[in-house]
Amino acid sequence: MASETPEITDDELLGDSDESSFVESLTPKKLAVYAALTIGVVAPLFPFALMVSMAFKPTGEMYSASLLPSEPTLAHYAFLLENVPILRQMLNSVIVTVAVVTSVVVTSCLVAYSLAKLDWFGREFTYNFILVTMMIPGVLLLIPQFIIIVWLGWVNTYEAMIVPFAISSFGIFLLTQFFKQLPDSLIDAARMDGCSELDIVFRIVLPNSLPAIATVALFTFMNRWNEMLWDLIVIRNEDMYTLPVSITLFAKTGLYGSSTGPLMAGATLLAVPTILLFLLLRRYFISGVTMSGLKS
Protein backbone atom coordinates (compact mmCIF):
# COMPACT_ATOMS: atom_id res chain seq x y z
CA MET A 1 0.00 0.00 0.00
CA ALA A 2 2.76 2.39 0.97
CA SER A 3 4.49 1.76 -2.32
CA GLU A 4 1.60 3.37 -4.24
CA THR A 5 2.16 6.67 -2.48
CA PRO A 6 4.82 9.05 -3.77
CA GLU A 7 8.25 8.83 -2.16
CA ILE A 8 8.92 11.38 0.53
CA THR A 9 12.45 12.49 1.14
CA ASP A 10 13.70 12.98 4.68
CA ASP A 11 14.25 16.65 3.84
CA GLU A 12 10.57 17.13 3.17
CA LEU A 13 9.67 15.19 6.30
CA LEU A 14 12.01 17.25 8.45
CA GLY A 15 10.96 20.48 6.78
CA ASP A 16 14.56 21.54 6.26
CA SER A 17 13.88 24.01 3.47
CA ASP A 18 14.42 27.70 3.48
CA GLU A 19 11.51 30.08 3.72
CA SER A 20 12.65 33.63 3.24
CA SER A 21 9.41 35.43 3.99
CA PHE A 22 8.83 33.40 7.14
CA VAL A 23 7.66 36.24 9.37
CA GLU A 24 5.33 37.64 6.71
CA SER A 25 3.75 34.25 6.25
CA LEU A 26 2.75 34.04 9.92
CA THR A 27 -1.03 34.14 9.86
CA PRO A 28 -3.01 33.93 13.12
CA LYS A 29 -3.81 30.33 12.25
CA LYS A 30 -0.13 29.49 11.86
CA LEU A 31 0.69 31.21 15.12
CA ALA A 32 -1.92 29.04 16.81
CA VAL A 33 -0.25 25.93 15.37
CA TYR A 34 3.12 27.04 16.75
CA ALA A 35 1.55 27.82 20.12
CA ALA A 36 -0.11 24.39 20.28
CA LEU A 37 3.15 22.62 19.36
CA THR A 38 5.07 24.59 21.98
CA ILE A 39 2.58 23.79 24.74
CA GLY A 40 2.41 20.18 23.56
CA VAL A 41 6.17 19.65 23.56
CA VAL A 42 6.25 20.26 27.32
CA ALA A 43 4.66 16.84 27.82
CA PRO A 44 7.53 14.76 26.36
CA LEU A 45 10.24 16.99 27.86
CA PHE A 46 8.98 17.71 31.39
CA PRO A 47 9.78 14.27 32.89
CA PHE A 48 13.38 14.69 31.71
CA ALA A 49 13.58 18.10 33.36
CA LEU A 50 12.28 16.51 36.55
CA MET A 51 14.89 13.74 36.33
CA VAL A 52 17.80 16.12 35.82
CA SER A 53 16.49 18.42 38.54
CA MET A 54 16.26 15.59 41.08
CA ALA A 55 19.71 14.30 40.11
CA PHE A 56 21.23 17.64 41.20
CA LYS A 57 18.92 18.63 44.09
CA PRO A 58 20.13 18.26 47.66
CA THR A 59 18.22 15.47 49.43
CA GLY A 60 16.52 17.98 51.74
CA GLU A 61 14.57 19.72 48.96
CA MET A 62 13.93 16.62 46.82
CA TYR A 63 10.16 17.05 46.89
CA SER A 64 9.97 20.82 46.73
CA ALA A 65 7.90 22.18 43.84
CA SER A 66 10.72 24.15 42.21
CA LEU A 67 12.57 22.48 39.33
CA LEU A 68 15.70 24.52 39.95
CA PRO A 69 17.78 23.31 42.89
CA SER A 70 18.76 26.12 45.28
CA GLU A 71 22.28 24.72 45.39
CA PRO A 72 23.06 22.16 42.68
CA THR A 73 25.00 19.25 44.17
CA LEU A 74 27.04 16.37 42.80
CA ALA A 75 26.48 14.42 46.02
CA HIS A 76 24.20 11.87 44.34
CA TYR A 77 26.82 11.03 41.70
CA ALA A 78 29.43 10.75 44.45
CA PHE A 79 27.09 8.39 46.32
CA LEU A 80 26.78 6.20 43.20
CA LEU A 81 30.56 6.11 42.76
CA GLU A 82 31.03 5.02 46.35
CA ASN A 83 28.30 2.41 46.62
CA VAL A 84 27.87 0.94 43.14
CA PRO A 85 30.61 -0.08 40.66
CA ILE A 86 28.96 2.40 38.31
CA LEU A 87 32.07 3.21 36.24
CA ARG A 88 32.69 -0.46 35.60
CA GLN A 89 29.02 -0.91 34.67
CA MET A 90 29.17 2.01 32.24
CA LEU A 91 32.28 0.46 30.72
CA ASN A 92 30.41 -2.85 30.39
CA SER A 93 27.59 -1.08 28.58
CA VAL A 94 30.04 0.66 26.25
CA ILE A 95 32.02 -2.53 25.47
CA VAL A 96 28.92 -4.58 24.76
CA THR A 97 27.23 -1.87 22.69
CA VAL A 98 30.30 -1.02 20.59
CA ALA A 99 30.99 -4.71 19.89
CA VAL A 100 27.38 -5.36 18.86
CA VAL A 101 27.12 -2.28 16.64
CA THR A 102 30.41 -3.11 14.87
CA SER A 103 29.41 -6.71 14.33
CA VAL A 104 25.92 -5.86 13.09
CA VAL A 105 27.23 -3.30 10.61
CA VAL A 106 29.93 -5.62 9.19
CA THR A 107 27.75 -8.74 8.96
CA SER A 108 24.75 -6.81 7.60
CA CYS A 109 26.95 -5.35 4.85
CA LEU A 110 28.29 -8.77 3.84
CA VAL A 111 24.93 -10.54 3.86
CA ALA A 112 23.05 -7.64 2.26
CA TYR A 113 25.64 -7.37 -0.51
CA SER A 114 25.23 -11.04 -1.26
CA LEU A 115 21.42 -10.72 -1.26
CA ALA A 116 21.27 -7.51 -3.29
CA LYS A 117 24.11 -7.76 -5.79
CA LEU A 118 25.17 -11.38 -6.24
CA ASP A 119 23.28 -13.85 -8.31
CA TRP A 120 23.01 -17.20 -6.62
CA PHE A 121 20.73 -20.17 -6.24
CA GLY A 122 18.38 -19.80 -3.26
CA ARG A 123 18.91 -16.07 -2.86
CA GLU A 124 15.23 -15.11 -2.98
CA PHE A 125 14.38 -17.91 -0.58
CA THR A 126 17.07 -16.81 1.86
CA TYR A 127 15.93 -13.19 1.73
CA ASN A 128 12.30 -14.11 2.36
CA PHE A 129 13.39 -16.44 5.11
CA ILE A 130 15.28 -13.61 6.86
CA LEU A 131 12.15 -11.44 6.61
CA VAL A 132 10.10 -14.23 8.21
CA THR A 133 12.57 -14.55 11.10
CA MET A 134 11.96 -10.86 11.87
CA MET A 135 8.42 -11.84 12.90
CA ILE A 136 9.48 -14.26 15.66
CA PRO A 137 8.78 -12.51 19.00
CA GLY A 138 11.96 -12.26 21.08
CA VAL A 139 10.18 -13.50 24.19
CA LEU A 140 9.65 -16.94 22.62
CA LEU A 141 13.42 -17.36 22.25
CA LEU A 142 14.31 -16.03 25.71
CA ILE A 143 14.38 -19.33 27.61
CA PRO A 144 15.96 -21.55 24.92
CA GLN A 145 18.61 -18.89 24.27
CA PHE A 146 19.35 -18.73 27.99
CA ILE A 147 19.77 -22.53 28.14
CA ILE A 148 22.16 -22.33 25.17
CA ILE A 149 24.19 -19.68 27.02
CA VAL A 150 24.38 -22.01 30.05
CA TRP A 151 25.49 -24.91 27.81
CA LEU A 152 28.17 -22.70 26.25
CA GLY A 153 29.37 -21.72 29.74
CA TRP A 154 28.80 -18.05 28.93
CA VAL A 155 26.81 -17.00 32.02
CA ASN A 156 28.36 -13.81 33.45
CA THR A 157 30.43 -13.09 30.34
CA TYR A 158 30.51 -10.39 27.66
CA GLU A 159 29.97 -13.10 25.03
CA ALA A 160 26.52 -13.76 26.46
CA MET A 161 25.58 -10.12 25.97
CA ILE A 162 27.25 -9.70 22.55
CA VAL A 163 26.89 -12.85 20.44
CA PRO A 164 23.07 -13.22 20.54
CA PHE A 165 22.81 -9.61 19.26
CA ALA A 166 25.74 -9.81 16.83
CA ILE A 167 23.62 -10.23 13.71
CA SER A 168 20.41 -8.38 12.97
CA SER A 169 17.70 -9.39 10.51
CA PHE A 170 16.47 -5.78 10.51
CA GLY A 171 19.96 -4.55 9.55
CA ILE A 172 20.19 -7.09 6.73
CA PHE A 173 16.72 -6.16 5.48
CA LEU A 174 17.38 -2.41 5.51
CA LEU A 175 20.79 -2.62 3.83
CA THR A 176 19.56 -5.08 1.20
CA GLN A 177 16.84 -2.62 0.21
CA PHE A 178 19.43 0.15 0.00
CA PHE A 179 22.13 -1.82 -1.84
CA LYS A 180 19.62 -2.83 -4.51
CA GLN A 181 19.40 0.82 -5.55
CA LEU A 182 23.15 1.13 -6.11
CA PRO A 183 24.01 0.93 -9.83
CA ASP A 184 25.50 -2.40 -10.94
CA SER A 185 27.97 -0.48 -13.12
CA LEU A 186 29.72 0.74 -9.96
CA ILE A 187 30.40 -2.83 -8.88
CA ASP A 188 31.24 -4.11 -12.35
CA ALA A 189 33.81 -1.33 -12.77
CA ALA A 190 35.45 -2.24 -9.47
CA ARG A 191 35.53 -5.90 -10.48
CA MET A 192 37.20 -4.93 -13.77
CA ASP A 193 39.84 -3.11 -11.74
CA GLY A 194 40.57 -6.38 -9.97
CA CYS A 195 38.90 -5.62 -6.63
CA SER A 196 38.09 -8.67 -4.52
CA GLU A 197 34.53 -9.09 -3.26
CA LEU A 198 35.53 -7.91 0.22
CA ASP A 199 37.15 -4.83 -1.33
CA ILE A 200 33.94 -4.16 -3.22
CA VAL A 201 31.83 -4.42 -0.05
CA PHE A 202 34.02 -2.25 2.16
CA ARG A 203 35.58 0.16 -0.36
CA ILE A 204 32.76 0.66 -2.88
CA VAL A 205 29.38 -0.36 -1.45
CA LEU A 206 29.88 0.79 2.15
CA PRO A 207 31.10 4.36 1.42
CA ASN A 208 28.19 4.79 -0.98
CA SER A 209 25.61 3.68 1.59
CA LEU A 210 26.54 5.71 4.64
CA PRO A 211 23.01 7.04 5.39
CA ALA A 212 21.54 3.53 5.50
CA ILE A 213 24.48 2.21 7.50
CA ALA A 214 24.14 5.10 9.97
CA THR A 215 20.48 4.21 10.44
CA VAL A 216 21.31 0.56 11.14
CA ALA A 217 24.14 1.51 13.49
CA LEU A 218 22.00 3.98 15.45
CA PHE A 219 19.02 1.66 15.92
CA THR A 220 21.35 -1.16 16.92
CA PHE A 221 23.08 1.16 19.38
CA MET A 222 19.77 2.28 20.87
CA ASN A 223 18.34 -1.22 21.21
CA ARG A 224 21.48 -2.77 22.69
CA TRP A 225 22.25 0.15 25.03
CA ASN A 226 18.68 0.02 26.36
CA GLU A 227 18.43 -3.79 26.62
CA MET A 228 17.59 -4.86 30.17
CA LEU A 229 15.75 -8.21 30.33
CA TRP A 230 18.41 -10.31 28.58
CA ASP A 231 21.29 -8.92 30.68
CA LEU A 232 19.22 -9.42 33.82
CA ILE A 233 18.97 -13.12 32.94
CA VAL A 234 22.51 -13.94 31.84
CA ILE A 235 24.48 -11.78 34.29
CA ARG A 236 24.63 -12.64 38.00
CA ASN A 237 27.54 -10.50 39.13
CA GLU A 238 27.39 -6.82 40.03
CA ASP A 239 30.69 -6.11 38.27
CA MET A 240 29.33 -7.49 35.00
CA TYR A 241 25.96 -5.67 35.04
CA THR A 242 25.22 -3.19 32.30
CA LEU A 243 23.68 0.16 33.27
CA PRO A 244 20.01 -0.76 32.61
CA VAL A 245 20.25 -3.80 34.92
CA SER A 246 22.08 -1.83 37.57
CA ILE A 247 19.51 1.00 37.59
CA THR A 248 16.63 -1.49 37.54
CA LEU A 249 17.88 -3.40 40.56
CA PHE A 250 18.73 -0.16 42.33
CA ALA A 251 15.16 1.03 41.75
CA LYS A 252 13.56 -2.28 42.73
CA THR A 253 15.45 -3.35 45.80
CA GLY A 254 15.94 0.05 47.37
CA LEU A 255 19.11 -1.61 48.58
CA TYR A 256 20.57 1.68 49.66
CA GLY A 257 17.53 3.10 51.42
CA SER A 258 14.95 5.11 49.54
CA SER A 259 17.50 7.10 47.62
CA THR A 260 15.72 9.07 44.92
CA GLY A 261 18.66 11.37 44.22
CA PRO A 262 21.22 8.67 43.35
CA LEU A 263 18.56 6.78 41.38
CA MET A 264 17.87 9.84 39.23
CA ALA A 265 21.61 10.47 38.88
CA GLY A 266 22.00 6.90 37.57
CA ALA A 267 19.03 7.40 35.24
CA THR A 268 20.71 10.44 33.66
CA LEU A 269 23.83 8.35 32.94
CA LEU A 270 21.67 5.77 31.19
CA ALA A 271 19.56 8.32 29.28
CA VAL A 272 22.16 10.81 28.06
CA PRO A 273 24.10 8.72 25.46
CA THR A 274 21.06 7.75 23.34
CA ILE A 275 19.52 11.23 23.58
CA LEU A 276 22.81 12.88 22.61
CA LEU A 277 23.30 10.56 19.63
CA PHE A 278 19.72 11.18 18.57
CA LEU A 279 20.10 14.96 18.70
CA LEU A 280 23.34 14.79 16.69
CA LEU A 281 22.13 12.33 14.07
CA ARG A 282 18.34 12.61 14.19
CA ARG A 283 17.96 12.47 10.42
CA TYR A 284 18.99 8.80 10.43
CA PHE A 285 16.64 7.96 13.29
CA ILE A 286 13.73 9.52 11.39
CA SER A 287 14.50 7.57 8.21
CA GLY A 288 14.74 4.41 10.35
CA VAL A 289 11.19 5.01 11.60
CA THR A 290 9.76 5.54 8.13
CA MET A 291 11.60 2.42 6.91
CA SER A 292 10.29 0.27 9.74
CA GLY A 293 6.83 1.69 9.12
CA LEU A 294 6.99 0.65 5.47
CA LYS A 295 8.24 -2.78 6.48
CA SER A 296 5.10 -3.69 8.36
Partner: protein
Protein backbone atom coordinates in the same frame (compact mmCIF):
# COMPACT_ATOMS: atom_id res chain seq x y z
CA UNK B 1 41.99 -14.58 0.85
CA UNK B 2 38.34 -15.49 0.38
CA UNK B 3 38.72 -14.83 -3.32
CA UNK B 4 41.55 -17.28 -3.54
CA UNK B 5 39.45 -19.96 -1.89
CA UNK B 6 36.54 -19.09 -4.16
CA UNK B 7 38.70 -19.46 -7.26
CA UNK B 8 40.19 -22.77 -6.18
CA UNK B 9 36.90 -24.27 -5.14
CA UNK B 10 35.24 -23.01 -8.29
CA UNK B 11 37.93 -24.50 -10.50
CA UNK B 12 37.46 -27.81 -8.73
CA UNK B 13 33.70 -27.57 -8.75
CA UNK B 14 33.26 -26.75 -12.45
CA UNK B 15 35.03 -29.98 -13.25
CA UNK B 16 33.07 -31.84 -10.65
CA UNK B 17 29.70 -30.30 -11.41
CA UNK B 18 29.56 -31.30 -15.08
CA UNK B 19 30.46 -34.74 -13.90
CA UNK B 20 27.88 -34.68 -11.12
CA UNK B 21 25.27 -33.12 -13.38
CA UNK B 22 25.57 -35.88 -15.93
CA UNK B 23 25.42 -38.49 -13.20
CA UNK B 24 22.42 -36.93 -11.47
CA UNK B 25 20.55 -36.08 -14.66
CA UNK B 26 18.37 -39.15 -14.45
CA UNK B 27 17.19 -38.29 -10.91
CA UNK B 28 14.24 -35.93 -11.51
CA UNK B 29 14.52 -33.56 -8.49
CA UNK B 30 18.27 -33.41 -7.92
CA UNK B 31 18.92 -33.25 -11.65
CA UNK B 32 16.73 -30.15 -12.00
CA UNK B 33 18.34 -28.51 -8.97
CA UNK B 34 21.84 -29.00 -10.35
CA UNK B 35 20.74 -27.76 -13.75
CA UNK B 36 19.02 -24.70 -12.27
CA UNK B 37 22.01 -23.89 -10.06
CA UNK B 38 24.11 -23.69 -13.20
CA UNK B 39 22.06 -20.67 -14.33
CA UNK B 40 23.40 -18.42 -11.55
CA UNK B 41 26.76 -16.64 -11.76
CA UNK B 42 27.82 -16.24 -8.14
CA UNK B 43 26.67 -19.39 -6.37
CA UNK B 44 29.80 -19.89 -4.30
CA UNK B 45 30.59 -16.25 -3.46
CA UNK B 46 26.96 -15.56 -2.61
CA UNK B 47 26.79 -18.54 -0.32
CA UNK B 48 30.11 -17.84 1.44
CA UNK B 49 28.95 -14.33 2.35
CA UNK B 50 25.78 -15.80 3.87
CA UNK B 51 27.68 -18.23 6.11
CA UNK B 52 28.06 -15.85 9.12
CA UNK B 53 24.32 -15.27 9.16
CA UNK B 54 23.57 -18.95 8.62
CA UNK B 55 25.82 -20.06 11.48
CA UNK B 56 24.46 -17.44 13.86
CA UNK B 57 20.82 -17.97 12.91
CA UNK B 58 21.12 -21.74 13.35
CA UNK B 59 22.34 -21.38 16.93
CA UNK B 60 20.44 -18.30 18.13
CA UNK B 61 17.28 -18.29 16.02
CA UNK B 62 16.31 -21.59 14.42
CA UNK B 63 17.41 -24.01 17.11
CA UNK B 64 15.88 -21.88 19.93
CA UNK B 65 12.63 -21.67 17.97
CA UNK B 66 12.21 -25.45 17.84
CA UNK B 67 13.78 -25.89 21.28
CA UNK B 68 11.06 -23.59 22.70
CA UNK B 69 8.41 -25.95 21.31
CA UNK B 70 10.31 -28.96 22.69
CA UNK B 71 10.65 -27.37 26.14
CA UNK B 72 6.94 -26.66 26.31
CA UNK B 73 6.26 -30.42 26.31
CA UNK B 74 8.80 -31.14 29.05
CA UNK B 75 9.46 -30.50 32.71
CA UNK B 76 12.63 -28.44 32.66
CA UNK B 77 14.53 -26.78 35.50
CA UNK B 78 18.03 -25.76 34.58
CA UNK B 79 19.50 -27.24 37.78
CA UNK B 80 17.79 -30.63 37.69
CA UNK B 81 19.26 -33.45 35.58
CA UNK B 82 15.85 -34.98 34.86
CA UNK B 83 13.71 -33.45 32.13
CA UNK B 84 10.70 -35.75 31.79
CA UNK B 85 8.26 -35.50 28.87
CA UNK B 86 4.88 -34.28 30.12
CA UNK B 87 2.97 -33.94 26.86
CA UNK B 88 0.30 -31.25 26.88
CA UNK B 89 0.30 -30.91 30.67
CA UNK B 90 1.65 -27.33 30.68
CA UNK B 91 -0.86 -26.23 28.07
CA UNK B 92 -3.74 -27.88 29.95
CA UNK B 93 -2.61 -26.22 33.20
CA UNK B 94 -2.39 -22.91 31.37
CA UNK B 95 -5.85 -22.97 29.84
CA UNK B 96 -7.68 -24.47 32.83
CA UNK B 97 -6.13 -22.16 35.42
CA UNK B 98 -7.24 -18.59 36.15
CA UNK B 99 -3.86 -16.99 35.57
CA UNK B 100 -3.93 -17.04 31.76
CA UNK B 101 -7.27 -15.25 31.63
CA UNK B 102 -6.13 -12.66 34.14
CA UNK B 103 -3.04 -11.98 32.00
CA UNK B 104 -5.23 -11.70 28.91
CA UNK B 105 -7.54 -9.29 30.73
CA UNK B 106 -4.64 -7.16 31.96
CA UNK B 107 -3.14 -7.02 28.46
CA UNK B 108 -6.51 -6.09 26.94
CA UNK B 109 -6.97 -3.35 29.56
CA UNK B 110 -3.51 -2.02 28.71
CA UNK B 111 -4.26 -2.16 24.98
CA UNK B 112 -7.62 -0.39 25.30
CA UNK B 113 -6.06 2.56 27.13
CA UNK B 114 -2.76 2.60 25.24
CA UNK B 115 -3.93 2.48 21.61
CA UNK B 116 -6.57 5.26 21.59
CA UNK B 117 -4.46 7.67 23.66
CA UNK B 118 -1.39 7.30 21.51
CA UNK B 119 -3.32 7.44 18.22
CA UNK B 120 -5.11 10.66 19.25
CA UNK B 121 -1.92 12.28 20.59
CA UNK B 122 0.32 11.18 17.70
CA UNK B 123 -2.25 12.21 15.10
CA UNK B 124 -2.64 15.63 16.71
CA UNK B 125 1.12 16.15 16.72
CA UNK B 126 1.41 14.95 13.10
CA UNK B 127 -1.42 17.21 11.84
CA UNK B 128 0.18 20.21 13.56
CA UNK B 129 3.67 19.37 12.28
CA UNK B 130 2.22 18.96 8.78
CA UNK B 131 1.12 22.62 8.82
CA UNK B 132 4.49 24.17 9.51
CA UNK B 133 7.85 24.05 7.77
CA UNK B 134 10.14 26.29 9.78
CA UNK B 135 11.01 24.64 13.09
CA UNK B 136 9.42 21.31 12.23
CA UNK B 137 12.65 19.38 12.72
CA UNK B 138 13.12 20.95 16.15
CA UNK B 139 9.61 20.12 17.39
CA UNK B 140 9.85 16.64 15.94
CA UNK B 141 13.06 16.07 17.90
CA UNK B 142 11.34 17.18 21.11
CA UNK B 143 8.46 14.74 20.67
CA UNK B 144 10.82 11.92 19.67
CA UNK B 145 13.21 12.07 22.65
CA UNK B 146 11.15 9.70 24.89
CA UNK B 147 11.30 7.02 22.20
CA UNK B 148 15.11 6.82 22.17
CA UNK B 149 15.25 6.75 25.97
CA UNK B 150 15.62 3.49 27.88
CA UNK B 151 12.36 2.07 29.23
CA UNK B 152 14.19 1.73 32.55
CA UNK B 153 14.68 5.52 32.76
CA UNK B 154 11.05 6.11 31.81
CA UNK B 155 9.81 3.69 34.48
CA UNK B 156 12.09 5.16 37.16
CA UNK B 157 11.01 8.75 36.43
CA UNK B 158 7.28 7.99 36.13
CA UNK B 159 7.48 5.98 39.33
CA UNK B 160 8.27 9.29 41.05
CA UNK B 161 5.70 11.23 39.01
CA UNK B 162 2.92 8.80 39.99
CA UNK B 163 3.92 8.28 43.62
CA UNK B 164 1.67 9.59 46.43
CA UNK B 165 4.17 12.40 47.18
CA UNK B 166 5.09 12.85 43.50
CA UNK B 167 4.49 15.69 41.07
CA UNK B 168 1.04 14.62 39.83
CA UNK B 169 -0.27 14.40 43.38
CA UNK B 170 1.22 17.78 44.22
CA UNK B 171 -0.89 19.11 41.32
CA UNK B 172 -3.95 17.20 42.51
CA UNK B 173 -3.30 18.50 46.01
CA UNK B 174 -4.38 21.93 44.73
CA UNK B 175 -7.84 20.44 44.23
CA UNK B 176 -7.66 18.71 47.58
CA UNK B 177 -7.47 15.12 46.32
CA UNK B 178 -4.77 12.50 46.25
CA UNK B 179 -4.65 9.45 43.98
CA UNK B 180 -2.30 6.53 44.57
CA UNK B 181 -2.04 5.67 40.86
CA UNK B 182 0.20 2.61 41.12
CA UNK B 183 -1.40 1.37 44.35
CA UNK B 184 -4.88 1.14 42.86
CA UNK B 185 -6.08 -2.04 41.16
CA UNK B 186 -8.18 -0.03 38.70
CA UNK B 187 -5.65 2.71 37.93
CA UNK B 188 -2.24 0.99 37.97
CA UNK B 189 -2.55 -0.56 34.50
CA UNK B 190 -3.95 2.58 32.81
CA UNK B 191 -1.16 4.59 34.46
CA UNK B 192 1.42 2.27 32.90
CA UNK B 193 -0.43 2.27 29.55
CA UNK B 194 -0.45 6.07 29.38
CA UNK B 195 3.24 6.17 30.24
CA UNK B 196 3.97 3.78 27.35
CA UNK B 197 1.79 5.92 25.04
CA UNK B 198 3.84 8.93 26.13
CA UNK B 199 7.02 7.09 25.09
CA UNK B 200 5.71 6.21 21.61
CA UNK B 201 3.81 9.38 20.59
CA UNK B 202 6.78 10.89 18.71
CA UNK B 203 7.49 7.62 16.92
CA UNK B 204 3.93 7.19 15.69
CA UNK B 205 3.64 10.92 14.88
CA UNK B 206 6.45 10.47 12.34
CA UNK B 207 4.67 7.50 10.75
CA UNK B 208 1.44 9.55 10.54
CA UNK B 209 3.32 12.58 9.21
CA UNK B 210 4.95 10.57 6.39
CA UNK B 211 1.47 9.32 5.50
CA UNK B 212 -0.08 12.82 5.65
CA UNK B 213 2.55 14.20 3.31
CA UNK B 214 1.88 11.51 0.76
CA UNK B 215 -1.68 12.85 0.30
CA UNK B 216 -1.56 15.22 -2.71
CA UNK B 217 -2.64 18.83 -2.11
CA UNK B 218 -4.91 18.68 -5.17
CA UNK B 219 -7.31 16.43 -3.24
CA UNK B 220 -7.80 19.14 -0.60
CA UNK B 221 -8.04 21.89 -3.19
CA UNK B 222 -10.90 20.21 -5.03
CA UNK B 223 -12.63 19.46 -1.73
CA UNK B 224 -12.29 23.12 -0.72
CA UNK B 225 -13.83 24.13 -4.07
CA UNK B 226 -16.77 21.85 -3.26
CA UNK B 227 -17.20 23.82 -0.03
CA UNK B 228 -15.86 21.28 2.47
CA UNK B 229 -14.61 22.93 5.67
CA UNK B 230 -11.42 21.84 7.41
CA UNK B 231 -13.07 19.37 9.76
CA UNK B 232 -15.01 17.80 6.88
CA UNK B 233 -11.80 17.54 4.88
CA UNK B 234 -10.09 15.82 7.78
CA UNK B 235 -13.04 13.50 8.45
CA UNK B 236 -13.72 12.46 4.85
CA UNK B 237 -10.34 12.77 3.13
CA UNK B 238 -7.43 12.69 5.57
CA UNK B 239 -8.77 10.14 8.01
CA UNK B 240 -9.66 7.40 5.46
CA UNK B 241 -6.35 7.94 3.66
CA UNK B 242 -4.48 7.46 6.94
CA UNK B 243 -5.52 3.80 7.10
CA UNK B 244 -2.08 2.43 6.11
CA UNK B 245 -0.38 4.15 9.03
CA UNK B 246 -3.27 3.25 11.39
CA UNK B 247 -2.55 -0.35 10.45
CA UNK B 248 1.12 0.07 11.34
CA UNK B 249 0.32 1.76 14.65
CA UNK B 250 -2.27 -0.81 15.72
CA UNK B 251 -0.05 -3.78 14.81
CA UNK B 252 3.03 -2.36 16.50
CA UNK B 253 0.95 -1.45 19.59
CA UNK B 254 -0.40 -4.99 19.77
CA UNK B 255 3.12 -6.38 19.70
CA UNK B 256 4.14 -3.89 22.40
CA UNK B 257 1.11 -4.63 24.58
CA UNK B 258 1.79 -8.36 24.60
CA UNK B 259 5.47 -7.90 25.47
CA UNK B 260 5.32 -5.32 28.30
CA UNK B 261 7.88 -6.24 30.94
CA UNK B 262 10.27 -3.52 32.14
CA UNK B 263 7.57 -1.10 33.34
CA UNK B 264 5.60 -3.39 35.69
CA UNK B 265 8.84 -5.15 36.71
CA UNK B 266 10.24 -1.87 38.05
CA UNK B 267 7.11 0.01 39.08
CA UNK B 268 4.63 -2.50 40.52
CA UNK B 269 6.18 -6.01 40.43
CA UNK B 270 2.85 -7.02 38.86
CA UNK B 271 0.73 -5.72 41.74
CA UNK B 272 -1.48 -4.55 43.31
CA UNK B 273 -3.06 -8.00 43.56
CA UNK B 274 -1.88 -9.04 40.09
CA UNK B 275 -3.50 -6.06 38.34
CA UNK B 276 -0.37 -5.23 36.33
CA UNK B 277 1.02 -8.74 35.87
CA UNK B 278 1.85 -9.25 32.21
CA UNK B 279 2.69 -12.25 30.03
CA UNK B 280 6.42 -11.57 29.89
CA UNK B 281 6.58 -10.80 33.61
CA UNK B 282 4.97 -14.18 34.30
CA UNK B 283 7.30 -15.95 31.86
CA UNK B 284 10.28 -14.34 33.59
CA UNK B 285 9.07 -15.27 37.07
CA UNK B 286 8.12 -18.86 36.14
CA UNK B 287 11.38 -19.52 34.35
CA UNK B 288 13.88 -17.75 36.59
CA UNK B 289 12.28 -17.47 40.03
CA UNK B 290 10.44 -20.83 40.13
CA UNK B 291 12.67 -22.59 37.52
CA UNK B 292 9.61 -23.90 35.66
CA UNK B 293 11.14 -23.43 32.22
CA UNK B 294 8.83 -25.94 30.54
CA UNK B 295 5.71 -24.14 31.71
CA UNK B 296 7.25 -20.74 30.91
CA UNK B 297 8.04 -21.96 27.38
CA UNK B 298 4.46 -23.13 26.90
CA UNK B 299 3.28 -19.66 27.87
CA UNK B 300 5.86 -18.21 25.44
CA UNK B 301 4.57 -20.41 22.60
CA UNK B 302 0.96 -19.39 23.27
CA UNK B 303 1.99 -15.73 23.47
CA UNK B 304 3.90 -15.89 20.17
CA UNK B 305 0.94 -17.59 18.49
CA UNK B 306 -1.45 -14.93 19.81
CA UNK B 307 0.77 -12.09 18.60
CA UNK B 308 0.97 -13.69 15.18
CA UNK B 309 -2.76 -14.38 14.81
CA UNK B 310 -3.90 -11.00 16.14
CA UNK B 311 -1.58 -8.98 13.93
CA UNK B 312 -2.70 -11.11 10.97
CA UNK B 313 -6.37 -10.47 11.71
CA UNK B 314 -5.81 -6.76 12.30
CA UNK B 315 -4.00 -6.52 9.00
CA UNK B 316 -6.82 -8.17 7.07
CA UNK B 317 -9.52 -6.21 8.89
CA UNK B 318 -7.92 -2.84 8.32
CA UNK B 319 -7.13 -3.68 4.71
CA UNK B 320 -10.78 -4.44 3.94
CA UNK B 321 -11.67 -1.13 5.57
CA UNK B 322 -9.22 0.61 3.25
CA UNK B 323 -10.60 -0.97 0.11
CA UNK B 324 -14.15 0.14 0.98
Amino acid sequence: MIDLIVRRVRAASTEASTDVASRLAHLPVLGTVVERMGKYDDNLKGFILIIPWLAWASVFLLFPFFFALYLSFHEWAIISPEQPFVGLEHYVALFTGDMFYQLLGNTLYFFLVNVPTQIVAALAVAVLLDRIIRGRALFMAGYFVPYVTSGVVVAVVFNRLYSPDGFLNQLLGVFGTEINFLGSEQLAMPAIAIMVSWKFVGYYAIIFLANLQSIPDSVYESAALDGANEWEQFRHITFPLLNPSMLVVVILSTITAFQIFTEPFIMTQGGPDGATTTFVLTIYQSAFSYLEMGFASALGVVLAAMIFVISYVERNYIETEVSM
